[in-house]
């Protein structure tokens, strides 16, 4: 039995993991670096330990020891896919809530993982170490050491390959402490479809259905949903079987994700396996009723999965929008600042996993993911309606963000039709263009100056000059 868990992460995922742990009556220990001293994941835990870096496995294991934690949950990002934390835990006699170090190592190496999957009969995307034939272009440069769009570059022409590999390599080195990159065939109009898998330490492996993650910006997901509109019963059965084969190939222990590329004619290819909880795991939770963090803990305790593949029946439709501190209209530039107004949406079928609230400071130190807005409804159409309503209710001011952009994306008729692929945003430049017209109502409201009592006489002249009409 696990009694106390150190959560080796920050932001929304640290808080979300804490929710489940506390429901399991497991004590929680937060870690935080200097810029996170006042972040919300710190008071959410039963105890908190200051650390120098979220990337130092030894320091984190030392903190776990010091605070009497018998297990460590890595979350996603940071050390979640580095074998070092899993290894240091083994050495220290602390349970790592995740796969064995060798699984992390072989799946973390994107070239090695493809070799393993190919051997297991799972279809994989054509891949090269560095010099693809001219006929293979366009290609993707990707980091051997990790995913999430970091260290990834699309290269259309052979002459651009060298710079792309160099730049990707630097980014990868920083993000994953591993500068190796490789080249992969770029599949046109692909969908990104992934399968959640679960494996216990008794050799049982199941999949928990797919997630459609095709709406991406800069190779990073922004909207995810399940079920996928691309899925037929037959395709789900085939891809699910491939996902379970992938899990069995490495005797996977814990919760993981098998990512596939699905091309327009229905062929699919193994892309990579993420050996951790995924950012978008909530949509699977909403449709299957599983609490994936609880499953992770039970598996880490050595328990058997309590259900078989045939016992799982997803219900309804779930969609997630990632709320980022960024300006989509200005090439997704990150934004920083202090959140001065934070009014969260509520109501039936709405879940908000947030790492921030009123007065939270968003700095340039971390990933710009602020929160995840997740909805569930009985159909995709109803889920979109619900998401539109929830996004329209969500007020987050003080840090520029993508809430309105997400509203425009899910309001797009092509999105509603479900005919999406990873090129969706590139095909819709109009979603990035906002009218610069400021309605007179906004001018009026700005003129109120925050005073609770106003009258016509209080409005300064500038507001009557029509000046703002030109801005």
């Amino acid at each position: 039995m696990i009694r106390k868990v150190l959560i080796a992460n920050r932001g929304e995922i640290a808080i979300r993991i804490g929710h489940t742990l506390r429901e399991m009556e497991i004590e929680t220990v937060a870690v935080f670096t200097d810029p996170d001293e006042h972040s919300l994941h710190v008071p959410a835990a039963d105890a908190a330990c200051h650390i120098e870096s979220y990337l130092d496995a030894r320091e984190i294991v030392r903190a776990a020891k010091e605070y009497g934690a018998d297990a460590i949950h890595p979350g996603y990002g940071f050390l979640s896919e580095s074998p070092s934390l899993s290894e240091e835990c083994e050495k220290a006699g602390i349970i790592f809530i995740g796969p064995r170090p060798d699984t992390i190592r072989s799946m973390g190496d994107k070239l090695e993982s493809k070799r393993v999957m190919q051997a297991a009969g799972v279809p994989v995307v054509p891949t090269w170490d560095g010099n693809p034939p001219a006929s293979a272009y366009p290609v993707l440069v990707k980091a051997v050491g990790g995913g999430g769009g970091k260290g990834m570059r699309l290269v259309e022409k052979a002459e651009d390959l060298a710079e792309a590999m160099a730049s990707a390599s630097r980014e990868a080195s920083k993000a994953f402490n591993d500068s190796r990159v490789f080249v992969e065939k770029y599949i046109r109009r692909p969908r990104h479809i992934e399968f959640q898998i679960l494996g216990d330490s008794h050799g049982n492996h199941i999949h928990v259905f797919e997630r459609e993650c095709s709406i991406q910006r800069r190779h990073q997901k922004i909207i995810e949903e399940t079920p996928s509109t691309a899925m037929t019963l037959k395709l789900r059965e085939e891809m699910g079987a491939a996902a379970v084969a992938a899990a069995k190939a490495v005797d996977y222990r814990g919760a993981g994700t098998v990512e596939f590329i699905l091309d327009p004619i229905g062929s699919f290819y193994f892309l990579e396996m993420n050996t951790r909880l995924q950012v978008e795991h909530p949509v699977t939770e909403m449709t299957t009723g599983l609490d994936l963090v609880r499953e992770q803990v039970l598996i880490a305790e050595g328990q058997r999965l309590l259900y078989r593949q045939a016992d799982l029946h997803p219900v309804g439709h779930s969609m997630e929008c990632r709320i980022y501190a960024e300006v989509p209209e200005e090439n997704f530039r990150p934004s920083t600042g202090t959140i001065e107004i934070f009014e969260a949406p509520a109501g039936p079928g709405v879940r908000l996993d947030s790492g921030v609230g009123k007065n939270s400071v968003v700095s340039y130190h971390f990933d710009p993911l602020l929160a995840k807005l997740i909805v569930w409804a009985s159909s995709r159409e109803a889920a979109i309606d619900r998401m539109k309503r929830a996004l329209a209710d969500f007020v987050l001011l003080g840090v520029r963000n993508n809430i309105e952009f997400l509203h425009r994306v899910i309001s797009d008729p092509e999105f509603s039709s479900g005919k999406i692929d990873t090129g969706f945003l590139d095909r819709h430049p109009e979603l990035f263009t906002v009218s610069t017209d400021v309605p007179v109502e906004a001018l009026l409201v700005a003129s109120l100056g925050g005073e609770k009592t106003v009258s016509g006489a209080h409005i300064p002249d500038v507001w009557t000059s029509g000046f703002w009409r030109n801005s």
Binding site: K150, S167, R170, E171, K174, A175, R218, A325, E330, R333, P334, S335, T336, E340, I341, E343, Y364, H365, F366, D367, P368, L391, A392, D393, V395, L397, G398, E404, H407, V438, P439, V440, E441, A442, L443, L444, V445, A446, S447, L448, G449, G450, K452, T453, V454, S455, G456, A457, H458, I459, W463, T464, G466, W468, R469, S471
Partner: protein, 141 residues
């Protein structure tokens, strides 16, 4: 109901009646709006029924100017972040779109390019420095 604040807004020759119903609820010309306002140093930010408007204050707005006219030879930080590396020295000759520096913000790298060909006249930042959005970094003559 009589206790609620009301007034008339004059803009572009129109007179628009409004009533402030709650601190964050206003009726304008008979229609109700939920609203929030932030008054920052550089701009007023207005949230109105799900839409956010950024209204620059007065004539300054140096930032939007910098963004709008990148061909001026001034290279400014497009986002807050850290200067990872400066790839030119003062006096160097650069070609258009040449990478002059690499910045990092929120774990993403991005390259800063020369807006036009020319000579590096001044470098106002150094490696490792944390810079604000809109800060002047490098000048190309």
């Amino acid at each position: 109901m009589t206790s609620r604040s009301h007034g008339t807004f004059h803009a572009s020759g129109r007179s628009i009646p409004f009533r402030l119903l709650e601190p964050n609820l206003i009726e304008i010309d008979g229609k109700r709006y939920r609203f929030y306002v932030l008054h920052n140093r550089n701009e007023h930010i207005v949230w109105l029924n799900g839409h956010t408007y950024h209204l620059p204050r007065a004539e300054k707005g140096a930032l939007s100017h910098a963004a709008a006219a990148p061909a001026s030879g001034e290279i400014t930080a497009l986002m807050p972040g850290k200067i990872l590396r400066i790839e030119v020295n003062a006096g160097d000759t650069v070609v258009e779109k040449q990478t002059v520096a690499i910045m990092e913000s929120m774990k993403m790298e991005s390259a800063l390019h020369a807006p036009r060909a020319g000579r590096v006249a001044a470098i106002h930042c150094q490696q490792g420095q944390v810079v604000e959005m809109g800060e002047l970094l490098i000048v190309i003559d």
